[in-house]
Every structure is written in structure tokens, then in C-alpha cells.
Amino acid sequence: MSAAQIRFATLWRREVNRFMKIKKQTLGAPLLETFLYITVFGAALGSRIKQLHGIDYVVFVIPGLIMMAFSINAFANNSSSILQQKFQGAIQDQLSSPASPLELLLAFSLGGFMRGLMVALLTFLAASLLVDLPVDHVLVLIPSLFLVGFFFSQLGVLTGVRAEQFDDVAFVQTFVLTPLIFLGGVFYSAELLPQPFETITLFNPVYYMINLVRYGFVGYTEVSIALSLLALTAATAALFAVNLRLFSRGYRLRA
């Protein structure tokens, strides 16, 4: 391995090591939360609703839950990891190393991506034990999940870099992400909503992400898959470019 490869592997390893050391909180809690959602919405509500668009309600809900688990964990990991390290001053060890802004950004991003992926995979495995969960369009599902994970990783990095206190991170997660995800159609189909709520949902970017993942699993969508993939790719690339610029300038990282 070259020195640059060792450096990048170590930066990435540090991020994974951090969440693995507190896995009850970072992996266990999100898994339990998702299991509770499946139980409440699948078993309890599912016994009344039965089917949506010809799909068992619990199966309709699970792709959204997997997407939600991936996104929230990718975001939470990166935002809190960066803020904690800034708070402790420990980030100085990485910042004073020969690592480039790109290496630092990628390593921070991949930490959250890995945590989100692990929670999403475990959720998928657990759900597969409970219900018969199809994977209809794997070639849409994999890039969609990859893009969703990377998008929220970038959003977590951006929030962590900008944040000056833990309240700043909590604000974004509680007052921005959670409403967007819950109102993005994880638990329902937007077509069932009365106006103007159906139209308002179309302005929620998470709605398109949920539809992409749902299409990948069960083959049902309310939006254009190609356009959604294109828009998500563009949004992820734009967010990455913004973060790279911030890392290069040392914004709120270097005095």
C-alpha cells in the first residue's frame, strides 16, 4: 500500500471504529426503532389497511423504512462525528496530517455511509425474516440506495462542519429531516392524500428517494425513475462539490 492509501484507510477506519465502539447506540437502537415501526405499521395498521396499490401494506412500508434507516444513520453519524471531534479538538490530528481535503471529506463521508448501509442491510435481513420482501429491480435499487446514502452522508458532513454546538445538529435532524422523511410517503402513498397535500408532497425531495427505493423492491412508483435518479445524482454531486470547497477553504475547521 502507498502512503496515501494507508492514510485514507486509517482515516476511514477511524470513522468506522467510532460507531462500532458504541454499536448499541449506533446500530442497535436504529434497528429496534425500525422493528417497532414494522410492528406498529405492519402488524397493527396493516391488519386494517391490508393493501396499497395491490401490495401488502407492510411490504409497501418496508422499502421506505430501509431508505429512512440508511439516510438518518448516514446523516447522524457524520454530523455528530465531525462536531464531536471539533468539540474535543481531536480533529486537529487529522487536519495537521498530510491528508488532502478530498481524502478527509471522503473518509468522513464513508463513515456515515457504512453505518447507514449496515443498518439498512440488517433491517432488510430482519424484514425478510418477517415478510416475503421482493427485490424486483435490483439495477435501480442498488444505485438508488447508494445515492441516497451518499447524499445524506454529505448532508451530515455539511451539518457537522457548520455546527458549533450539538443543538445545531439536533435542529437539522428534528426540524428538517424527520418531517421531510415522515411526510415523504414512507407510510402512505401520496396519491391518497387530499389536495393541496398531494401537490405539496411533490416538492419534497425525499418523496422521490422513497419512490426510487420502493420501485427497486416492489416495482411500484408514483414518479419518473429516470428523472428521479438524474435529479438525485445532480443533488448529490452538488452537495459533494460544496463540501469539497468548504474542506479546501478550511471553513470552520481551520482558524
Binding site: A9, R13, P98, A255
Partner: protein
């Protein structure tokens, strides 16, 4: 002519708050030198160190570390520097051993070399028994040892020690002095900031006084004392900060 270990030219640093921490600092440290930087709180010592190590971005001027520009060629420049900061900045999630291993990894050191170097420094700094403990459980003195060991992990050619003995007991202070002198004799250039005059006097080949973001005096302790027309480095320092009345000779004369 050998390349300077550290060459700083007309360095300015203005923070976004408007505070001008450095106002045209120029400094030259030769390879192998043990150089002291003395100044009151807020004089610009830590800012100068942060600009040198990439933790702060200079507003103007140039920094070259062993011939490498600290901005344009930051990779090579930072590879050559080890920093033991004033404030303990250890990662709470890591153990003592991981702290050293990860640091060396950030500097591209291969696994086998990291393992050997970690073992060596754990022994040198009497940290072997604490190797599996999380850093947040360490005492202040142990944290100080670990920070110094971490700075040394990647075998820097320029070691920057920002008040390394602040708040440590006498035993550890003497231990650190011996270690600093030893690695200096082995060829590592050292930039040391301290508030302890006797530390600078005993350890450093040359000393610079920094005040209000400017270098106001530079030389051996004898040269500095002569420049201020006083008997000792301590008196020269007190003259610099405008507190001559605190001089021991002044107090002794008053008492008699």
C-alpha cells in the same frame, strides 16, 4: 547551505473577528536547533504554531518547513512536522495504543512499522500498562505523555512543543526535558514555547520573544539579557512585558 528547518517570512494572521494575532513575524530556525519562543498570553505563540501546522490559515507571508512551502506543498511540509499542542486534544473514543497507531496511519506509516514504533514509544513514555485504556480515563500527566508520544510517532524532523510542561509535576517535567534533549541530540529540530523561563534557559540554543504578534527580540539568553540591559533572561522577559518591578533583584533591593 543547509535548508532551514523552519523559515517564516513576514507572517500575518488576522482572524475573522478582526483580531490581528500575527503582524509581520519573521523567524529562521536551523536544522538541529532547539529554539524557544517566549511571550505573554495572547502574544501570538499558538497562532504562529497553528499557521505552521495547517490548523490556521495565514493572511499573508510565507512559511517553509525544510524547504517545503506550508501552503502550496502542504503534504511534504506537514509530513516533516510533529505537533504536541498546548490543550490536550485526544480522541475520547480511542485507546492509548489506537491513538498512536491512527496518528501514524494518518502520516502513511505501514502497519509493521506502526506496531514497532507504538511499542517503543509506549515504553519510552511509561504508557505500556495503559495501552488499552481509553484516553478520557487518563490523568493529566498521562495525557501529556501521550500527546508527546503521538507527536513523535511519525518521526518528524521538526517537533513543535506548545507549552509541553504546563501543569505537569516536577518529576514528569524533568523526564520530558531529558527526552526533549535526547531527541534533539539525535537530530530533531525543536520549536518550544513555554512560560517557564528556566525551561527555555536550560534547554534552548536560541530564544525569541514574541509580543503583540511581533518578534521583539531574538538570540541566546545572554544576548537577550544584554539587549535589555539586565542580568538574566527572566529580567529581559519582564522588561518586555513591562513588569520590571517584579524582577527578583528589584524585590531583593526593596526588601533590604
Amino acid at each position: 547551505m543547509a535548508e532551514s528547518a523552519l523559515h517564516i517570512e513576514d507572517l500575518f494572521k488576522r482572524y475573522p473577528t478582526g483580531v490581528e494575532a500575527l503582524r509581520g513575524v519573521s523567524l529562521e530556525i536551523a536544522p538541529g536547533e532547539l529554539f524557544g519562543l517566549l511571550g505573554p498570553n495572547g502574544a501570538g505563540k499558538s497562532t504562529l504554531i497553528h499557521c505552521t501546522t495547517g490548523l490556521a490559515q495565514p493572511t499573508g507571508g510565507a512559511i517553509r518547513i525544510l524547504g517545503h512551502d506550508a501552503i502550496d506543498d502542504y503534504g511534504e511540509a506537514r509530513q516533516a512536522v510533529g505537533l504536541a499542542p498546548q490543550e490536550p486534544n485526544l480522541d475520547w473514543f480511542l485507546t492509548v495504543e489506537e491513538t498512536l497507531d491512527y496518528h501514524a496511519g494518518y502520516f502513511g506509516m505501514p502497519k509493521r512499522e506502526r506496531r514497532e514504533r507504538t511499542k517503543e514509544l509506549l515504553e519510552t513514555f511509561s504508557l505500556t500498562e495503559k495501552r488499552d485504556e481509553r484516553t478520557r480515563t487518563l490523568s493529566g500527566g498521562m495525557k501529556r505523555r501521550l500527546i508527546l508520544a503521538r507527536a513523535m510517532m511519525h518521526r518528524p524532523r521538526l517537533l513543535i512543543l506548545d507549552e509541553p510542561t504546563a501543569g505537569v509535576d516536577v518529576e514528569l517535567r524533568l523526564e520530558l526535558w531529558h527526552y526533549v534533549q535526547r531527541i534533539n541530540q539525535e537530530g530533531t529540530t525543536i520549536l518550544l514555547t513555554t512560560h517557564y523561563i528556566e525551561e527555555a534557559e536550560q534547554l534552548c540554543d536560541r530564544i525569541a520573544f514574541i509580543n503583540e504578534g511581533k518578534i521583539v527580540g531574538e538570540g541566546t539568553s545572554e544576548e537577550l539579557a544584554a539587549r535589555y540591559g539586565v542580568a538574566s533572561l527572566e529580567d529581559a522577559y519582564l522588561a518586555l512585558v513591562g513588569r520590571k518591578e517584579l524582577s527578583r533583584s528589584h524585590i531583593e533591593v526593596s526588601a533590604s
